[in-house]
């Protein structure tokens, strides 16, 4: 049986006592895609992930991972899932190699050459005991185990918070390789640049509910673009007036520097105004993920 959605969650509710950590969440991840899972701290990302792995039992809602319900068939699901948590604790008296052996032994499936290659790539010394590892090194052990395991779905919960920039680059390559090999990746991260470069689709949640979900390209389309330019000295008041009539206020400084956030439907008109006024250094960039995210993030902090 082939499943076109690796993860399919509808109306997920997870309560702890009176508190609903997740409250009616929908999440769908298509098979073979790299899906970003974003939200401010405490939004319910890790809770959702733990439900996906069958570690938590959903209070309500329908959850399907690789076509199966993790609440009743958790072991069958996780056998085909690699999981890397953000806070990695390991058995302190085992060596890195022994941890890798343990994970592969428990899973019963192993790709030894891939594991050896990844250990070398991540520059991990697997003969040292876990006690002597730094946070980044413990994370590397889990990343090696996750990428090397022959699984269909990778669930990565802030997996790179302890990695250096060099390893960060390697991590991105590994995710791309995984996607190229047909594996699905759910990536929860606060590093927006990482999500932006890796993910085709993202889901943003807040207070345990869905805020926005879809293909990153489509979401950018809907958001405002940022336009910058420099106006000749004498043109400032005239251009400001014309922009107001198009529907874009503020953003023109007295010295002629222009920085505007423009809804997509007005971009052409604004560019025409700027071009007509002989503006220099005109740039127009689509909304970044950071813009999209911060819009919701700020709403939370209010």
């Amino acid at each position: 049986m082939t499943v076109d959605h690796a993860i399919e969650v509808t109306g997920l509710v997870k309560r702890f006592g009176a508190v609903a950590a997740v409250d009616g969440l929908n999440l769908s991840v298509r098979a073979g895609e790299v899906h970003g899972f974003l939200g401010p701290n405490g939004a319910g990302k890790s809770t959702t992930i733990r439900v996906l792995l069958g570690l938590y039992r959903a209070t309500a809602g329908r959850v399907r991972v690789l076509g199966l319900d993790p609440a009743t068939r958790g072991a069958e699901v996780t056998r085909r899932v690699s999981y890397v948590p953000g806070e990695v604790n390991l058995w302190p008296n085992l060596t890195g190699q022994e941890v890798l052996d343990a994970m592969a032994g428990l899973r019963g499936r192993r790709d030894v050459p891939a594991e050896r290659r990844l250990v070398a790539d991540f520059a991990l010394d697997p003969r040292k005991t876990v006690r002597t590892y730094s946070k980044g090194n413990r994370q590397k052990v889990m990343l090696v185990a996750a990428f090397a395991a022959p699984t269909d779905l990778l669930v990565l919960d802030e997996p790179t918070s302890g990695l250096d920039p060099l390893m960060e680059g390697l991590f991105q390559r590994c995710v791309r390789d995984a996607a190229a090999a047909g594996r699905t990746v759910l990536l929860s991260s606060h590093i927006l640049a990482e999500v932006e470069t890796l993910c085709e689709s993202v889901t943003i949640i807040k207070h345990g509910t869905l805020v926005e979900s879809g293909r990153l390209a489509d979401m950018r389309h809907l958001a405002a673009a940022e336009i910058t330019a420099r106006l000749p000295a004498g043109q400032v008041p005239a251009v400001a007036g014309r922009l107001r009539s198009v529907g874009v206020a503020d953003g023109v400084a007295e010295d002629g520097a222009v920085r505007l956030s423009v809804p997509r439907r007005h971009v052409a008109a604004v560019l025409a105004v700027l071009a007509g006024a002989d503006a220099q250094d005109i740039t127009c960039s689509p909304a970044t993920l950071e813009d999209l995210f911060l819009r919701h993030y700020e709403a939370v902090s209010r």
Binding site: R50, L53, G54, L55, Y56, R57, G74, A75, E76, T78, R79, R80, V81, S82, Y83, P85, E87, V88, N89, L90, W91, N93, L94, T95, Q97, E98, V99, D101, A102, M103, G105, L106, R107, G108, D125, R127, K128, T129, R131, T132, M142, A149
Partner: protein, 527 residues
């Protein structure tokens, strides 16, 4: 001062529960010694027996003449109180000195402008205050009975309380020193507890072989030196007080000579070993290897100590007038059987301590997120706890079989009697169902009420109290039978009755099974 307050606040539950336990033990038992032997004749007999019984001399030391209730209290309860104070000292000292370093909180403290030596000094100051609290508490608890229980005086109570306090401080400061040598909190705890075990062995050899000078080398021998309610020799306390100051100074010197998060002895932290497992049972077994080895050595040593010191039982077996609490403790009819059963009870209590701790490991792994890793590889939800229970069953079996076998070798050469080897082995391995009840109960808590796992120790403490102090406290035999340690039949007796053991095993299996079912029905709880 802020640091002292922070440390006390952080460990307040540990400090308070142990202190309350010790003071309650001292306060609740004094009056029992008045009522157990109403006539002078009965007491004289009991005292004489106690003075000549190898088991009690080994466990509690020598009971001084004339054996007033106060002296019996200092002899028997004093032994428990000092052993518990020593164990508490190790746990508290490690918690105050090394744990904060392992979990990184000391880094935060040090980065706030606190000088490197201040945390250790603060810890030593807290230990001194705790020792003073213990001394005052035990003095008060025992002294309140002055005038009502024969032989109890305020001066004797003060000597008794001070013995508990100084024993605590001595072991605590010693552990603080050892904690500078090893590189982890766990290692410090193991070393400290090993030192307490060694102190017990030295004390018991000193007492059974009447080598009084040897008691000077054991913190647990301090009680015999001070002789509360008998001699109240304060200068001994003063001498040991001076020794703790020297040990504290030594600890600070060692502390200066080591790196942060390291010990003076570097552990080997690089090795080329592989782990060939295919199930969570295999993983649990691999992780249990070292603890089981350590427990086997420790329990076998204590068990063999009992056998080796058991020669006095022979004389006892020639006498018909075994009565009073010793008669009850040694199990009535056959003193050899009684002695072997009694030492096997001690072994059973120790093995159960291992069993409870071992099953609790599964809760610890869950809280630390390790169970997440295991479950995320396709292991079924019930397996981690089931594997831990199975490994505990095997581990406690190994501990008991090794101890039983060693005793079967040693006991016949020391104790005269019929089939001593077989009975010794039988009594000791017969404790296995009891240890499994403790493991099952712990699994039940882990499965259904993971937040209440500290209650796992409760039935162990209750059963041990019933077994060791029940006769003394005048607990009726029906109630004592509720304890789990005294149901092992004499294998050499006619027609040994194993029904009680079967009941224990059935209870253990039901509890463990229910606990495993419980884990399947709840969320994994981290943190």
């Amino acid at each position: 001062m802020t640091l002292v307050r922070l440390m006390v606040h952080r460990h307040r539950v540990l400090l308070a529960s142990w202190s309350v336990l010790l003071v309650a033990l001292a306060g609740a038992t004094v009056s029992a010694y008045r009522s157990t032997y109403p006539t002078a004749e009965q007491r004289r007999l009991a005292v004489e027996l106690a003075q000549h019984n190898a088991a009690t001399v080994l466990l509690y030391g020598n009971l001084p003449d004339p054996g007033t209730p106060a002296q019996m209290f200092a002899w028997e309860i004093g032994a428990f109180a000092t052993i518990l104070a020593a164990v508490m000292a190790v746990l508290v000292a490690v918690a105050l000195t090394r744990s904060a370093e392992d979990d990184g909180t000391l880094e935060l403290v040090r980065s706030c402008g606190v000088a490197p030596r201040v945390p250790l000094w603060s810890a030593l100051a807290i230990l001194a205050v705790v020792a003073a609290v213990l001394a005052a508490g035990c003095t008060g608890a025992a002294g309140l009975h002055a005038g009502r229980v024969d032989g109890v005086t305020w001066s004797g109570a003060a000597a008794f309380g001070s013995v508990v306090g100084v024993t605590f401080l001595l072991v605590a400061v010693l552990t603080a020193g050892l904690a500078q040598v090893v590189s982890t909190a766990g290692g410090a705890r193991t070393t400290g507890l090993a030192a307490v075990g060694a102190a017990f062995v030295v004390r018991s050899i000193a007492d059974t072989r009447h080598l009084d000078w040897l008691n000077w080398f054991s913190p647990l021998g301090l009680r015999a030196g001070v002789r509360p309610f008998t001699g109240d020799r304060w200068w001994v306390l003063a001498a040991y007080g001076g020794l703790t100051v020297v040990l504290a100074w030594l600890a600070t010197v060692l502390h200066r000579r080591r790196e942060y998060r390291a010990g003076l002895v570097r552990p080997r932290d690089r090795r080329d070993t592989r782990l060939n497992i295919r199930s969570s049972l295999g993983l649990a077994a691999r992780l249990a290897r070292r603890p089981v080895a350590a427990w086997t050595v420790a329990v076998a040593a204590v068990g063999t100590l009992f056998s080796a010191m058991g020669s006095g039982v022979v004389d006892l077996s020639r006498r018909d007038d075994v009565g009073g609490f010793l008669g009850a403790q040694l199990g009535g009819s056959d003193p050899v059987a009684g002695y072997l059963a009694y030492s096997a009870t001690i072994v059973g209590i120790l093995a159960s301590t291992y069993a409870v701790g071992s099953v609790l490991r599964s809760r610890h792994d869950e809280a630390a997120g390790l169970t997440d890793h295991v479950l995320a590889t396709g292991v079924r939800r019930w397996q981690p706890l089931a594997a831990q229970v199975a490994v505990t069953a095997l581990g406690s079996g190994a501990v008991l079989v090794a101890t039983g076998a060693l005793n079967a070798l040693v006991a016949p050469s020391v104790i005269d009697g019929t089939d001593v080897a077989g009975r010794s082995f039988g009594y000791i391995t017969g404790q296995w169902p009891a240890t499994m009840v403790m493991a099952g109960w712990t699994a039940l808590l882990v499965g259904w009420w993971p937040r209440l796992t500290s209650l796992a120790w409760l039935p162990l403490v209750a059963s041990a109290t019933l077994a060791l102090l029940g006769p003394l406290l005048g607990v009726p035999a029906d109630v004592r039978a509720l304890g789990i340690f005294q149901h092992v039949p004499d294998v050499a007796g006619p027609d040994p009755d194993v029904r009680a053991l079967a009941v224990l095993l059935a209870c253990a299996a039901a509890a463990a099974l229910s606990g495993v079912v419980g884990t399947v029905r709840r969320d994994v709880m981290t943190g």
